[in-house]
């Protein structure tokens, strides 16, 4: 069992989300930095999509009530175990009674704690991800609170050798493809979209980031019929200030879509802080698919290398 002594600003149970129910209006949810969660799981010998804990801006304390093996990935929160510094993106043995502390990361937004064996919780509609707005999944469908206790699955044979992964480089720039309504925007709006620094406003959450920057105007102003949307879609409401959809986003929307963040760069969005600056970089469909292939290959290579190291 793990006891959450301090949950920090926003801590949730997340796996890779709840696909397959979007025609019923259920959001995908899942870790905002999927790469970090999967890497953490691989380090502790789990399936890459096992559920772990997502912490926002650190400031969290956990006590372990059983021997296990953990990995802290994502934002480097200067993690420490009973006061001894822990290497980020490394596997670590933990003894019953030890306390893990996450401090505030200097950069990036979300840190992940993966535990060998995973959490012993009941999936809802096929996933352990917390759906915060739906109020289901994870632990009682809500963010973790101080004092919560999470049961752990029995730990399999613990991987013994200390081993780590080099974290991927993160920059506040994401590659995007033009959206279906890209050409409906004025030439000035399109230019401003690519050329500007966009600020993540405080009115942002796991559903999406509301951005502030130049007002993006459309040439054609008619309303669109509601249509399916996905994490990564950048929609522009009549205020002209774009919204980038994230994992908890609604399944359909009605605002024009100026661009779509490529799948391989979604994790970078998840690591953006409120108040941070963001830039959009144009790319092609082929580049987007190649980037996704490369990312999956990297995870595969990690899995193979880690299997061989135990």
């Amino acid at each position: 069992m793990i006891e959450i002594l301090r949950a920090g600003p926003l801590a949730t149970v997340q796996d890779l989300g709840r696909p397959g129910w979007r025609d019923r209006g259920l959001s995908l949810c899942g870790a905002l930095d999927e790469f970090a969660l999967q890497a953490g799981n691989l380090l502790v010998g789990n399936a890459p999509g096992a559920a772990g804990l997502e912490f926002t801006l650190g400031a969290a304390t956990l006590r372990f009530h059983a021997d296990t093996c953990i990995a802290v990935t994502g934002a480097d929160a200067n993690a420490s175990l009973d006061g001894h510094p822990l290497r980020p993106w490394w596997r670590q043995r933990v003894r019953a009674g030890q306390t893990l502390k996450l401090a505030a990361p200097r950069e990036r937004m979300r840190s992940y704690v993966a535990m060998a064996g995973g959490l012993d919780l009941l999936p809802t509609l096929g996933s352990l991800s917390t759906d915060l707005k739906g109020g289901f999944g994870g632990l009682d469908g809500r963010a973790l609170r101080d004092g919560d206790r999470l049961p752990l699955n029995p730990t399999p044979a613990l991987p013994a050798r200390a081993v780590g992964i080099r974290p991927p480089d993160w920059t506040p720039a994401v590659r995007v493809l033009p959206g279906p309504e890209h050409e409906d925007f004025t030439a000035a709006a399109r230019e401003a979209f690519w050329a500007s620094d966009w600020t993540v406003t405080p009115q942002s959450n796991r559903m999406g980031y509301r951005l502030a920057g130049p007002v993006l105007e459309r040439e054609r102003g008619e309303e669109l019929a509601s249509h399916g949307v996905l994490p990564g879609v950048i929609q522009v409401p009549p205020s002209g200030q774009p919204i980038v959809l994230l994992a908890d986003a609604q399944t359909t929307g009605g605002y024009p879509k100026i661009a779509v963040v490529i799948r391989a760069d979604l994790w970078k969005l998840g690591q953006l802080r409120l108040g941070a600056r963001l830039r959009f970089v144009p790319c092609t469909r082929d580049e987007a698919v190649a980037a996704l292939r490369e990312q999956r290959m990297l995870l595969d290579q990690m899995r193979i290398a880690l299997c061989m190291s135990t």
Binding site: D23, R24, S27, A225, G228, S239, T251, G253, R263, A288
Partner: protein, 212 residues
């Protein structure tokens, strides 16, 4: 027959848009297209919208050209006749914060907005936006009202609203851009229930004005 237009939404999805105008017959074709594409290799999810269908796929397993061809092949087949679903009555207290704005936009009294909204015979076109949120066809044209220019950060659970040519009920607290005209106490979504949503595509809906 008019063309089905298919365009990419990022590298992992395609959006199929049916020719205008929107109609119940057309929407039945959206449901049929979704059913026909469900077993195509590489398709992960099918999200019906209003007069459109979004296909989510794994770009490392499928070429979008193959999916587009599959969609177009289904589109040229003659449509099947479909029955409408059951009738669901939704009790509504008409006291929403935007009721006055809707009335003045439509040039009607508040009583007349109520009368026309409850007189409607609605059909669930699709479920989307949030769990169990039914997009209903059949809103009286005189009640069409554009969405708010700035979406609300928190719309209360059970709110009944109008967004453009559509009307519907918010099953959960959420940000949203529709004009709110009333609320219902009926649960539209329950993750522990089977099925988890009260309404399904094809169901017929009536709003009944109530005071409690």
């Amino acid at each position: 027959m008019s063309e089905l237009s298919v365009h990419p939404l990022g590298e992992t999805a395609l959006c199929c848009t049916l020719p205008a105008p929107l109609s119940l017959e057309q929407q039945q074709r959206v449901w049929q297209l979704a059913a026909g594409l469900a077993n195509v290799d590489g398709v992960q999810e099918l999200i019906p919208g209003m007069n459109n269908l979004t296909l989510v796929f794994d770009p490392l397993r499928t070429e979008p050209a193959a999916l587009e061809a599959a969609a177009l092949a289904l589109w040229v087949k003659p449509p099947r006749r479909q029955q409408l679903g059951r009738l669901v009555e939704i009790p509504v207290i008409y006291d929403g914060p935007d009721l006055g704005d809707v009335a003045s936009h439509c040039g009607l009294s508040i009583d007349e907005v109520l009368r026309r909204h409850t007189a409607g015979d609605y059909v669930v076109y699709f479920i989307g936006f949030q769990p169990g949120f039914a997009y209903l066809g059949g809103l009286d044209e005189s009640l069409h009202t554009p969405r708010r220019s700035e979406p609300r950060v928190a719309v209360p659970r059970g709110s009944v609203g109008i967004g453009g040519a559509q009307t519907g009920i918010y099953p959960l607290v959420t940000p949203g851009g529709w004009q709110l005209i009333g609320r219902t106490s009926l649960a539209l979504f329950d993750p522990q229930a089977e099925p988890p949503t009260l309404l399904a595509p094809g169901d017929r809906v009536r709003f009944v004005a109530t005071t409690e």
